[in-house]
């Protein structure tokens, strides 16, 4: 799950003026679009990036996924877990573009966020590279299915 090369690359920033704390686990070019609210996105045919707030209905985006280049899911406080569901819902709907957790994103939540489908992180406060690597390498296996491609223990047992 952790690719040290991309981790380091992410921590060094992308050289395009983004927050140097951006962590990215994708190999395509960064989608450089300003994110708009869900309501605005649905109304504006030319919007390419959207930001989901905790109370927003992520499913409103599903009819428009073909033009979405970047979804930011905001975590105003790390203890508000609605963004985890928003992320999984979009992945379940087939969204394959960049899914970025922004805001109060902390190292101890990264592994769960990755499992819910986030593939980039733009934390308010920069994270320690070693801690990030340790956090993402923490779990030898997983018990349940989520939005990542890890095989749950209960499937491995009966493979």
């Amino acid at each position: 799950m952790t690719d040290p090369a991309t981790t380091t690359e992410g921590l060094q920033g992308d050289g395009q003026g983004h927050n140097s704390g951006l962590l990215r686990y994708r190999h395509d070019a960064i989608a450089d679009h300003a994110a708009v609210t869900v309501d605005a996105f649905v109304e504006q045919d030319d919007a390419l990036a959207v930001r989901i707030e905790p109370g927003d209905e992520a499913r409103e985006l599903i009819p428009h996924l073909d033009r979405v280049k970047l979804v930011e899911v905001n975590f105003p406080a790390f203890g508000d877990g609605r963004g985890y569901s928003s992320a999984r819902i979009l992945r379940e709907a087939g969204y394959e573009g960049e899914l970025r957790a922004v805001g109060d994103v902390l190292v101890d939540q990264l592994a769960y966020m990755r499992r819910c489908g986030f593939d980039s992180f733009d934390p308010d406060a920069p994270l320690d590279a070693g801690d990030v690597e340790a956090a993402l390498a923490r779990w030898p296996d997983v018990y349940q299915s989520a939005a990542d491609d890890r095989t749950p223990i209960w499937t491995k047992r009966h493979a």
Binding site: P54, F78, G79, D80, G81, R82, Y84, S85, S86, R88, E92, L106, D108, Q109, A111, Y112, M113, R115, C116, D128, D131, A134, R138, W139, P140, D141, V142, Y143, Q144, S145, A146, P152, I153, W154, T155, K156, R157, H158
Partner: protein
Amino acid sequence: MYRYDTYDQAMVDARVEEFRDQCRRRLEGKLTEDQFKPLRLMNGLYLQLHAYMLRVAVPYGTLSGDQMRALADIAEKYDRGYGHFTTRQNIQYNWIKLEDAGDILADLASVEMHAIQTSGNCIRNISSDHFAGAAADEVVDPRPYAELLRQWSSFHPEFAYLPRKFKIAVIASKTDRAAMKLHDIGIRIVERANEDGGAELGASFYVGGGMGRTPMIAPCINEFVPLDRLITYAEACLRVYNRHGRRDNKYKARIKILVHELGAEEYTRQVEAEYAHLLDQGVEPPFAELERIRTFFADPEFRAAEEASASGEPAETASEPAFRRWVQRNTNPHKAPGYVSAVISLKPVGGIPGDATAEQMRLMADLAERYGFDELRVMHTQNIVLPHVHKSDLPAVWRALDGAGLSTPNLDQIGDIIACPGLDYCSLANARSIPVAQKISERFEASGKGEALGELKLKISGCINACGHHHAGHIGILGVDRKGVENYQLSLGGSEAEDTALAKITGPGFSEDGIVDAVETAADVYLRERTEGERFLDTYRRIGMTPFKEALYD
């Protein structure tokens, strides 16, 4: 009972290392206390009035002798030589040092135990019927379903930051011994006829029950979820809650408020829609996993009913009145001929409900190994069960318990009190619970009325969070703070059994000594008014509150 394979062990070991790393980062100042708090809570570590408290998970209340011994060792090594069994079938230690927590978790992992998700706004330890696998009245052993839910809910990435804590109970009898309808999700495994003329098992889902400051009885939202859809349905229930449960007010954040505000019908509609969607997402485990888990809960090799005991206990013991009273009061019918489930009371007269010393834990472990197929259960009523005891071994079991202060014959009687830790330990409490429990048990022991009163479930909470289940007591007591003085409100008529009911308050509260008198007054009204075969609760339901009020306040 369930045993870890290398996968389970690796996950628990990884958790220990994760927590050690989190503690290190906290000490280095990389984590603020606000950031660290939910992490330590999800490892069972609370900051109480005087020290840290560590809550250890006992999944569905089942323990082996070795595990009970490990709990005894932890009590001695890291605490003050005792532990406290809780209303969610767990054990907690009240005098823990933060710097020892990592080592304790490592000790637990060495006996396939942990403190994962015993606190925090996540899915907590799954509780179950303490007589599971033994009760004569169960459809099937509910624990395999509880174990499947344990695995599913452990480190669930979507549901680690729910609006509030989330408690699930699983039973498989009509008799409810787990307060199922007072949980966020209560599941009852049921049997129904299928088209082939056979029977099939499914799960009835009750969602949105709870105690706390707004007690509610969970409505049934789906009477029959097929067992090969169990996890998918649970996932749907949780997702609707995670997305729509209130987060603006901690006291309105439990799922019961969501179900209440939406209405059970609308909540159910949303769950069914999410369920229909999730059925295509492959979240359900292979059915073979449920079958694998079931093999761990196969019946032990029961002896023939008529077989004699090899304990060496003299035959005269069986005729001792104290022994006979204990058997009559503290054993429960078993599905296997010649067997009973024996309840070890942790409610000695004047004692602290649910406490056991390290020596007592070791003795219970020894008895389980020698006479009980190496199995123990923690009851939500804060007692311990030896689930499978051959009747011929009961005299030896009782003799050993009697020598250790563990033979109080008071199961479901007025001395068998549930009490929260209260103001003696808890930072949330408004009043002490333990001294009130002690005084009541002493009062009824002195008057000798306990036996005459029969089944009378008394429950005490030291604040409105209701950890002592006072809403569900035949008699409930709630400690409040009235202008700096502890005051106790009395309520009557609650039940956490299959006839679930919420108790009603009698009127103005009482002082600490006054509440003991008030309980006795209420008990006397029952003794005066009861008809043949009526329990306290039955009499209350028949005659209503008025006669009790008159006796209490006029």
